[in-house]
Amino acid sequence: MNVYYQVPPLIGFGLSFLLAVLVIRQHPYSFLHRIFAIFLTSMGLWALTVFGMRTSDTLDNALWWEKGIFVAYPVISVSFYHFVLVLTGFKNRGRILAVAYSLMVIFIGLAPTGLVVSDMKMMWYGYGFIAGPMLLSYIIVLYGIVILAIFQLVKAYRVSTSSVEKNRYAYVGVGAILCVLGLISDVVAERGDHVYPLGIVRNILFTMLTTYAMIKYHLLDFYMVIRRGTTYVIVSALGVGVLIGVVSLVYLFGIDAWSLDTGMKVAFIIVLAVLLQPLLKWTQGKVDKWFYRGRYDYLRVLESLGEETKTITDLGVITASLVNTVAAAMQCQSVLVLLPDAEDKWFVPVANRGVPERLSPRIRQDSVVVWWLGQREDFLSREQISVMPYFKALTAAEKEMLAQLEAELFVPLLTREGLKGILVLGRKLSEQDYSPEETRMLRVVARQMATTLDNARLYDLQMRRYREQALLAKLSTAVSAELDLKKIYNLFIRELKEAVPIDFASTNLMDEKGGPLVTAFAITVSPNIRSAHELARKSLEHIPGRAEPELHYNANLEWERKSPVEDRFYEVGMRSLLRLPLRSKGSVLGNFILATKTPDAYNAEDIKLLQQIAIQLAIAIDKSRLYEAEREARLELERQDRDRTDLVNALVHEIKTPLTAMVASAELLREELASDDSALGDLSRNLEVSTHNLDRRISELMDFAKVQSMETLVQVQPVSVHDVAQRVTAQISELLQSRQQTLKLEVPELPELPGYIKADPDRINQVLLNLLTNASKFSGLNQTICLRSYMLNSDMIFEVHDSAPPIDAQERELIFKPYYRRSKGKGSGGLGLGLFISKKLVQLHGGKIWIESDGSGNSFKFSLPLVYDTGGKT
């Protein structure tokens, strides 16, 4: 008995029935499984008939069994086709199957007749059949059905988007191809060529492959199997070559290696296997390179990416390298790197490749996806998300985002402190699953990159904060220094453009009374927007008259628009729209609108910064408004002052002209009646005094008006303090004599003074005269009044001390106010303007005036800056 000839059919028989039982046990109610079980059973029966034929003792018996083989094959062919149609979900298969089953019945009927196989003959390998007239038709039809099934599998493979399905179709398809190859070898063998009929072996492989594809859900990646298989075939061939070479070589030395004992042979093979290890690795590399054509180099780069980026701190560079290398090495549709935002509330995209621009994928820190990646420290696949109960807690928005993202794999970027980022990979271009080798590689890369990325992110964050602080400081300075709003707007927009993307910006303000919003400023850089002001104006049509006090941010107008304003911006191509209230001192002044065509353009940090900037802008607007209001008020007051001064001047002028004549007349009259002791003489004296008093008061009023309107000018010149004192003493002496008062003069001579004062002598004289007149007026008869001058620091101090009752602190506050008259002075004829005018005159000289009181009286003091004689230099 030829074991190699007779045992394979027996193995085929046993295996087929065993697999049929397994398939049915797995899913007894599945129609697909039932059909497949029929296929396996018919395959088992076919193998049984082959076994019967090969073990027959006569040609007649062998013919009987051979006919059995040809009866079983139609069932195999058609049941396989039926199975493939169901597996691939082929619609409207009823008619096709009816034809296939009819053909099956016909050929089952033809098989025993001798039309398909007419007789048997002995061949070099055993029994061979002699073809009948219908054999060709039989082969064309039944193997044609198998080939149709292969085509159907290829078609389904192409249209399927499921990697699991694709893998399954590949296994079944390859099994069917092996089956057809088996037929070819059987037919060639039958023709007498020296070919072994391998139909039974290939059908065993066919059975095993298809069953594996059916009962296993996670099939080995077909390409990985091919790749590994190719490597082992090459290495095995090389090994056999080496073996034969070594055997031949030693034979030359008279050693028959084949005759060595078993132990030696085993030892030799082990040595050979060890020696071939580097060859295996090298060959695998070459095969991989061939299989991975286009991406082999990227795979190598990916392996060393972590090490190479360790020293780089630029987050943009690192993430761009990562996404580009991963996308190229994994041949995937998209790659995305998500890192925590500044507030650690979201994982936000920092770099991507292949992710549609309209998407703005972000994952909340408290999302179950983040929880899973952080807790389980493992990859998360799309399939796991669809299956595991935990992910049913994903919110509607998260589900929508994940669906749009079409993410296939979430790779956690973990450091010792936890989850620091997420690498998201889309589907592979080949529609295959990520192979174990690829996931292993991604795991290594993720581990290496996590710390690098986290450090770069923190560095980036710090740098960003510095930049933001610098920007805010710059804007704050500008707000302090500049009052022109237009300049401020321009500066703000210029600086903002550097910090965040802007295609449109406008500032809309309400008036101080809270009137409707009006666009104060608008700019655009988008060609879609013809006029920024026009857009701003139109958008305001849909905003309530008053600005909203809350911030509104729509990160993607394409997904959702909640108001006509958002519709308006969407229509001109904007995708992110941010409306910030402009608040100052608790009230809303208006709003600041920013828009850009990039979706999700502003992250939490950007918004925080923009809020700060909006505050600065509001302060600038508020300040500018206050300044404007104050300026207007001041101008109004000045105008009123001017009017009043003009009136006083006109009045004084009108009075002064007749008064001058009256004074002169009164003096003449008094002189004429000087010796007259009659009542007429007294009247003339009274008249003179009164006209003089009136003249003085009118002069005071004129001075006051001039001081008020700032018309009074001082004409400074070097002045001798002593001369000033002497002059005023002469002027006051008459008054002092009339009140029997004494003036004590304590003014040092010039040489004692290191410098001189620069003043208008007439004005200083006026001040001193006023103070001395008051001192005389408020001091009692026979009292002493003192005029002093002395240096204090860099000032010259003038002091007029009287003997009047002390002025209390409250009165001292009021005494320099216009029209204030001391209680004792009321009725004494003054207007209460003297001290006010004195104060103003001193101030015009850069000095100050004040009062000090004690038990002995009151000291009216004023200071004037002293100019040192430094040889011509001042």
Partner: protein
């Protein structure tokens, strides 16, 4: 989410990955309580977000937007259907937290149809939970899946827009199961006609699963016993496939010397039953059909609330459809007395074993009902199931909150207790209705019962039911011992009374749900109507 994307066919059933199917549909049974609560919290916050953006939600939450689960329970008031009625009766899609794709309505047993809108996400959950129930009904151990493409499912359920019809319709889009009778064909059939047609069809096709009201399965089982004696051959029974099923079944029953049973004809893998009577008929159904039914707790307003595990014992709450709060029995009693009283609630992680609670639900996935008092009392039978390893509180349906009959403030009898006591007296009966009445100013439990036989004295029935209630209900037993009062009054209705009532209602064009009088606390008009259709005895 669009309905199409949610309800596409699940490839796992054709691929045959049992592990993943179990994980996807029944995986919630493996959740520890803390993860259950995490899911509840996440979905509640999502629901609050949706509700706060809707007119209805804002009204129910009184303009607030709670920032946490605790704040939600503290600040949002309880609601009842009347709060929603103005929106739901007019099907105000625009006022809902999310756009509905279909509107379901209740049976109207309380006299009012309650409408409940379903969003695409909620419909998806209904479909998935229905498949979970089928999988669990056929499982004898964890991970065992017998639900595959092509299985035949007998559906004895009212059609859409009843929730059961929606469940059946949409779950059929997830898996290619063969509905018997086909959903399109059965859509316009009367309920009884549909049941008959379904079982006749199943004679030819076979049946792998059945979803039904428990009493229907029990009655079908009973009628099979009579089939052997009064077998009428029709074209259906003469169909070759039907003959292939019937003949071995007849032989089997003859060999066993007993009437033919459904289990002789069909080797069903799983039975799914809803309603309060499942536990009453459990043993009977298991005897007739060969498998224990799986009890599910479903309501139109909520979808699936809970379902039994593969051991068919306590029910586990489904975490994905609703947020659950529980009003302790004492609080519930206070709120019964004082309608203005706002009882406190506990969450799932604070319920206690053996305690009775009124359940309060909040829909997830954009459903309208927030802190909704559905009016059901449940009992927490254990905090976990040691035998199966399920780590979630196990519950059983206790009664409708308004279906409790209070006798002298001492014993509170619910529908199930009364039903079981009637069942246990072993007198074949047609139907019953019970309510609290006053006889000589004393409260009594008045049971209107129609027995199959009419030769039994009502006094005897009162005694038998009394005995059963003493055995079944400790409080009732204490009442009897302590007070010596006899609180049971039975009025035996003449045979055919319930049928007459039903026919009368049918003729008047009443809906399916109103054909029978309610079991508990029927109003005077219904009792009068019932009594008027027979000569009352007793």
């Amino acid at each position: 989410m669009k309905l199409d994307s949610l309800l596409k066919k699940d490839g796992l059933f054709s691929a045959g990955d049992a592990e993943k199917i179990w994980l996807k549909y029944c995986g919630f049974l493996d959740l520890p309580l803390d993860e259950f609560m995490v899911i509840q919290k996440a979905l509640l916050m999502d629901q609050i977000e949706m509700a706060s953006n809707s007119e209805l939600g804002r009204k129910m939450m009184q303009g607030r937007k709670p920032a946490s689960m605790e704040e939600f329970c503290r600040t949002v008031p309880f609601t009842t259907y009347s709060d929603y009625e103005p929106y739901l009766s007019q099907k105000r899609d625009d006022a809902m937290p999310a756009k509905p794709v279909i509107w379901a309505h209740t049976s109207g047993r309380t006299g009012v149809f309650k409408w409940a809108p379903y969003t695409a996400a909620r419909v998806g959950r209904l479909a998935d939970d229905t498949l979970a129930a089928f999988i669990l009904s056929a499982a004898n151990r964890k991970g065992e899946v017998h639900l595959w493409d092509g299985v035949k499912v007998v559906l004895n359920l009212p059609p859409a827009p009843y929730i059961t019809g929606i469940m059946a319709g949409f779950s059929a889009q997830r898996i290619s199961y063969r509905a018997i009778p086909p959903l399109e064909e059965a859509a316009d059939m009367e309920f009884q006609e549909r049941i008959k047609f379904g079982f006749k069809m199943a004679l030819q096709t076979g049946a792998d699963f059945a979803a039904s009201i428990a009493v229907v399965l029990a009655k079908v089982g009973e009628s099979f016993g009579q089939l052997g004696r009064t077998a009428k051959f029709s074209w259906t029974t003469l169909h070759p496939m039907a003959m292939l099923r019937l003949l071995p079944a007849v032989i089997k029953s003859k060999l066993a010397r007993r009437p033919m049973l459904p289990r002789d004809i069909w080797h069903v893998k799983g039975l799914v039953c809803g309603g309060t009577d499942t536990s009453i008929y459990r043993d009977q159904i298991a005897h007739y059909w060969g498998v224990e039914p799986l009890d599910v707790y479903v309501a139109t307003e909520t979808g699936y609330i809970a379902m039994q595990g593969w051991d068919k014992k306590g029910m586990s709450f489904v975490p994905y459809s609703n947020f659950y709060e529980f009003i302790p029995e004492e609080e519930w009693l206070k709120s019964r007395v004082d309608k203005k009283y706002q009882p406190t609630t506990v969450l799932m992680d604070k319920v206690e074993e053996g305690k009775v609670y009124e359940i309060v639900i909040t829909n997830f996935h954009g459903g309208p009902f927030l802190r909704y008092r559905i009016g059901d009392l449940i009992k927490i039978v254990s905090l976990k199931d040691e035998k199966t390893g399920v780590r979630l509180p196990q519950m059983m349906f206790q009664s409708r909150a308004d279906d409790v009959i209070d006798i002298a403030g001492f014993a509170r009898l619910d529908e199930k207790s009364i039903w079981r006591s009637i069942q246990n007296i072993n007198l074949p009966y047609e139907d019953w209705s019970a309510r609290k009445e006053y006889v000589q100013e004393k409260p009594v439990l008045h049971i209107y019962l129609e027995l199959v036989r009419d030769d039994i004295d009502s006094r005897e029935v009162e005694r038998l039911i009394d005995e059963q209630l003493i055995a079944l209900d400790k409080n009732y037993s204490d009442l009897r011992k302590m007070t010596q009062v006899e609180p049971i009054v039975v009025t035996l209705l003449q045979p055919g009374t319930f049928q007459q009532y039903q026919k009368g209602k049918q003729a008047a064009g009443f809906d399916l749900a109103h054909l029978k009088p309610p079991h508990m606390n029927a109003p005077d008009t219904i009792i009068q109507d019932l009594l008027s259709r027979q000569g009352a005895s007793g």
